[in-house]
Amino acid sequence: MSVTYSCCHLDSPHAPLPPSYPSSSSSYHSLDKLYFCEECDAVRCDLCSAIEIASYFCPNCLFDVPSANVRADKNRCARSCFSCPTCESSLSIQASDQPSTDNAVGPTATAMTLSGPPYALVCSGCKWSSKEVGWSFDKPTGIALQLQKMNTQVDLVQSEFDSLKDHLESYITLSNPTPSSSSSSRSTRNPSRHISHLTQMAQRALHRDVGGLVAYSARSKRSSPAEKGEKEKFGWDELDEYVPKDSWRRTGLEKGLEDVDLIRDFEESGASGLAALVKRWQSSWDRGSMSREILPQRIPLQTKLTKRCPHPNCRHLLIQPDTKTVRMKIKMVASNYLPLVEIGRRRRRLPSNDISESPDQMSVQDMEKQRRERRRTRGGNPVREEDELMDTPFKAGETYSFQIALTNPLYDPIQIRLTLPHQPKKAPKTDFSVIIPTPHFTINALKDAWAYEEDDESDDYLMGGSGIGGLEAGFSEEGTTTTGTGTNTGTLSRKSKLTILSSNNNKRSKENLNGIEKKGNITKVGLDIQILPEIVRKSKVEFDLEIRYTYKADDLGTPTNDKDENKSKDKDNSTQNKEEYKNFTFWTRVNLGHVE
């Protein structure tokens, strides 16, 4: 059971494809993962928002790594954070107790474990120690640096890599401003960053080469004799041949001998001696494939991300983290703008002939339930329903009733319209029907924190207890039931709350008859699902809901601002123009589970 919200990405808002199209699922996310761009008045998600890295930090020592150092540190922590080669938890530095064993003669040495060098990295999870791979350190700080100094294993590879990097870098700096001819854009080998649009346009306009750059003219001269045949190659990267420092062919031969040793090792150790593939992928260099040859890795850095609206004309910040704390400087999340949709209280409608069925077999609880039921449907048709758990599978040919709850995140009341989105012509027919008995209703405004909490406290009684029929009784009992938890602020707010309640008591009870339950900034309405008898077994009961809400437009910019109650009351009293209201439509997908 889940309710997810649609993100139209950069399209204009439209109803997404129905759930019968599997391709529609990618645009649905849970509300807490969505963002909202006020400028575009649109929902944004993680898939479409533009992401920039705001800061880097090590998840183990929580050090904020300056972004200038990140590349040199190879995106890993350059202090003392290492992960265990066997279990991947972080290693801790342990001083060896060797001094005590050196001084004392015999096993009756003092329990004093003098902490001193050499230090080793020890895993607290699996007790792996860096002594196993022969690592020990003189100081307990800056392990990565010490390791870099003493580690000569990769020197050969490193120097080769460095020279190759130098070779390529000289090429990049030389040929970066080189314009290339438009004909070569077909070639996939041509790096697009080399194409300067300005020179290209100039070339086209003048029908001749606009060079002036030495590298370019030299290249075009060279290719001019065989121009017809070579035209395709015009903008190809022309690299000097790289001369390796060391012959790798010879190393290849050595490797063959190593492989023989490896097979011999493997025969001795069995399959457990071989390192898991995942672990070998993680180490960047060509390491041994036996598990004892896997070395601890420096812990990869994590990032804090800045997120922007993806619209090319907007690019407003949606998320801007604070590098020092967990707070966000800018946080434009959809949960502050869109009502939260929840679905619950599932009931199965019993056929009418079941009503007379064996009343003597009913337990006291059932009797009470039935009484509550009768009270609930007072004035309507005598329908009997049975409470069911939300996760039980549906039965074919039955009718179920749910309650759908919408929570208003705005400081103003909103109007809601619930509809089923228009289905495309060729959409496969669903084998269940959704009935929304009350598509139009309002939700009260979100109040100040204390008033909201008190609402919950007192109204919980209604919700869990007597339901709708016992409204008045609930209020009179309220005073006695909540005194236990009452604090100083509690008693104050309760008074104010009671006056509020008495003012719209009549209105509330009227609405309750239509199956609308209101509580604070939450409104609950009914929703019926009719499962047709011919439904395929194990098929999902999933449907889309189109929700349109109407809100005051002048609050568009600052819906999160606190608003005095007096102020809003004034607005209510003053005659409102229709222009002040705005609509926003969004689509949600409700997954209720599957058929038996």
Binding site: D32, K33, P59, C61, E88, S89, S124, C126, T485
Partner: protein
């Protein structure tokens, strides 16, 4: 949040309610209560063990265990201050738990500190001197080895625990309203 969550009831008299709204089960084993601070509106459920007696050996008043507001310590969970040898003598170190921390049932907690808005699932073992920063989720059945540091906005799981995912930016509000909602729903029958 939680419009359909049912009310959680307990038998009247099985929980002690303090002036600040803490609800402490009579069946919880709490030792060294003078060394324990509860922030208010926190719930300590049945059969939990809070070891406030494991204090620093030096004389004077020590706070062993401080728990913030809107916290929950689930059934059969054990909270025990971590201890280690320091300069030749064995000492215990205090545990600090911030606001909005939910610890579910059957957990063993020996952390040094747990930040605000942290949820620890069922059957977790949080090793000695673990530091859990603000805004984190420890999935059920996770074992965090000694000295693990859980950075903010992360989800950890597995044995031994690893960083498995990051949290959405809205998690703080979600967790705060969840904790408040839970406290309001937890009532005597």
């Amino acid at each position: 949040m939680g419009a359909f969550d049912p009310i959680i009831t307990y038998e009247k008299g099985t929980y002690i309610e303090t002036d600040t709204g803490n609800k402490v089960s009579r069946k919880a084993s709490i030792t060294g209560a003078t060394n324990i601070i509860l922030g208010g509106k926190s719930i300590i459920k049945n059969d939990t063990i809070l070891r406030g007696d494991l204090r620093r050996s030096t004389a004077g008043q020590h706070v062993v265990l401080s728990i913030g507001r809107y916290c929950l310590i689930g059934e059969n969970s054990i909270i025990r201050p971590p201890g280690k040898l320091h300069k030749g003598s064995f000492t215990f170190y205090p545990i600090r738990i911030s606001d909005f921390v939910h610890i579910q049932s059957n957990c063993i907690i020996e952390a040094a500190s747990i930040g605000s808005c942290v949820e620890i699932g069922k059957n977790c073992i949080i090793g000695k001197f673990v530091i859990i920063k603000d805004l984190a989720i420890i999935l059920p059945d996770t074992v965090l080895p000694e000295g693990t540091i859980v950075p903010p906005m992360s989800i950890w799981g597995g044995n031994p625990g690893k960083l498995v995912d990051t949290l959405p930016e809205t998690y703080q509000e979600t967790m705060e309203s969840k904790c408040k909602n839970y406290y309001l729903r937890f009532k005597s029958a």
